[in-house]
Amino acid sequence: MNRNGENKPSGSISWEQLQEDTLSVILKGDWKNPPKTDILADFLKMLKKHFDLRSVTINGSDITSWDTRLVAHLWKIQNLAKQYEVETVLQSFPRGIPRLLNLAETSRGRESAEPESLDETFLSKIGEVSLDVTTETVRMLDFIGALFIGLFNFLRGKARFRVSDVWFFLQDSGANALPIVSLISFLVGVIMAFVGAVQLTQFGAQIYVANLVGIAMTREMGALMTAIIITGRSGAAFAAQLGTMMVNQEIDALKTFGFEPMEYLVLPRFLALTIMLPPLALYADFLGIMGGALVGWAMLDLSFLQYFEQTRSALNPQHFLLGLLKAFIYGALVATAGCMRGLQSGRSASAVGKATTSAVVTGIVFIIVASAVTTYIYTVLGW
């Protein structure tokens, strides 16, 4: 039966021991439709059963049609026979088959072409992971060190980069991000107001929704949400750009012509994000407060004037400044994560994909850790 379930005469194979040391194999019929037996396993059984087997004759005079599956089987049989020091003779096969076998034999690759694989034990995995962590840390420190040298050169006015690149990235990661930042921060304001409203209404304190949204947006959420959006937008883009440049050898070309990738590629991106994130965060703060005001007006019967007056009394410049300081730090971290992963990318398309994913993950981890640390410091300092 073939794959479609129709009955069709299939190819057949018969094994016949002629003498103590010779085996005769006869293949017949339509070998595009081979029998459902594991030929190689059968052959191995024969080899194991008859120690004194010295030669195998395979006759194919009655084969009506065939494809490369048959040739692959024969090739495996030949190789297996060779291992057992048994000679194989092919008799009256359609002439394409011996030719293909010959081709596979003469152009076979290196014997040890397969990469060495070690047994993966639990201990070896632990060892590998700890080695990975070490190299990863070293590479990260390496990058950060080089980045500081680049920044130092920039401050001395000796860095080699194109100022037009800075303008480009300012626009690309700043102005062009406004729509998405607007949407997300407005909705974050709405969500926080909703959550706060339900709780505060129980105490008749719904007016304090304005305080909640205002303080949370300016101190934390404005900068945090903006940073996460920019990680997904610009951090990922940086990693993909630099990774692709790596694949195209553009970075090699930069190095050999005497441009420092850290200055020429990383510096403009780093400057753009550190400059752009604080204003974006400030913008997000206002949008979030507007989202809160909408909920206050629609759900809590507060007028916009009341809401904004309450917000104004709750906030002072310090709240904004603390948020902007965070945004500045996030900007530096997102740019670092994106550029670092891009420059560490391997030289293949899949490596660029990995670098991009890794840039986003690293960026978000950096941001959240930095957020926790700065919040703790602010609290300890009583800011």
Binding site: R160, R162, D165, T244, M245, V247, N248, Q249, E250, D252, A253, L254, K255, T256, F257, G258, F259
Partner: protein, 254 residues
């Protein structure tokens, strides 16, 4: 070819051993590249030709052995000396490696702006001239993504020429080009050498190129993992030292 110091050694490689992730690629490499010659690095794919070029450029550090430029070991130099040396190399990468965010003109101009004190109009003239040399006159405002692969290779060559280097290093310059274009590129390389006297190192497995422009060729043997053939291309073809060299140089050449 300008003949002062005709036989002076430009690059000398001594006992070079190359590994990639601990996997041995080639060992015991010993050869000299004379000033002003076209030196071909041949071998089958995977034999380490491009890796050898990356070592010659200084992008990879050898596991063992030394690479001398005018009697100075590349890896005994201070980083800034190494950089200065690299800036005197004209490199054409396999993928051309043009900076994709810059136009062809900017790709060349940025080098002149950063590493020479020429004024803007002079730079513009040089850019136009170098592009014209490779048959790309008038293309200075195109981006690398706007032009064909062959044109990109030639633009890469124009960029390699930007700072009038002492030595050209080309990685498979004609790979992936049609026969007409690759012949054109070959004769361009030869003319550059003939007219400027620059040393040229070319990685190639194309017999046409090797026989057309090569003064000396080395054959990197992927089985022996070292050089098994060195000399004038036609000599190697006619008197191959082993079967793999013979197979390589005498394969049917259509």
């Amino acid at each position: 070819m300008p003949d002062q110091n005709d036989t002076a050694v430009h690059v000398k490689v001594q006992d070079l051993e190359m590994r990639y992730n601990n996997f041995l690629i080639q060992k015991n490499l010993n050869f000299e590249i004379r000033k002003g010659e076209i030196f071909m690095i041949a071998g089958s794919s995977g034999s380490g030709k491009s890796t050898l070029l990356r070592h010659l450029i200084g992008l990879m550090k050898p596991v063992n052995g030394k690479i001398f430029y005018h009697d100075r070991n590349l890896w005994d130099m201070l980083p800034q000396e190494q950089k200065a040396l690299q800036r005197r190399m004209g490199i054409l990468y396999q993928s051309a490696a043009l900076w994709s965010s810059l136009t062809l003109g900017e790709n060349i101009a940025i080098l002149l702006e950063n590493f020479t004190d020429y004024d803007q109009s002079e730079i513009r003239h040089i850019v136009e001239f170098k592009l014209a040399l490779v048959g790309l006159a008038g293309y200075q405002d195109y981006y690398p993504s706007d032009i064909s692969g062959g044109m990109r290779k030639r633009a890469g060559l124009a960029r390699a020429m930007a700072l009038d280097p002492d030595i050209f290093l080309f990685d498979e310059p004609t790979a992936g080009l049609d026969p007409v274009n690759s012949q054109r590129l070959d004769s361009l390389i030869k003319q550059l050498r003939d007219n400027l006297g620059t040393t040229v190192v070319v990685v190639s497995h194309e017999l046409d190129s090797i026989f057309a422009i090569g003064d000396t060729v080395i054959f990197l043997d992927s089985e022996e993992k070292t050089i098994t053939g060195m000399g004038v291309p036609a000599d190697l073809r006619d008197h191959p030292p082993n079967s793999r060299v013979s197979e390589f140089f005498n394969r049917e050449n259509k």
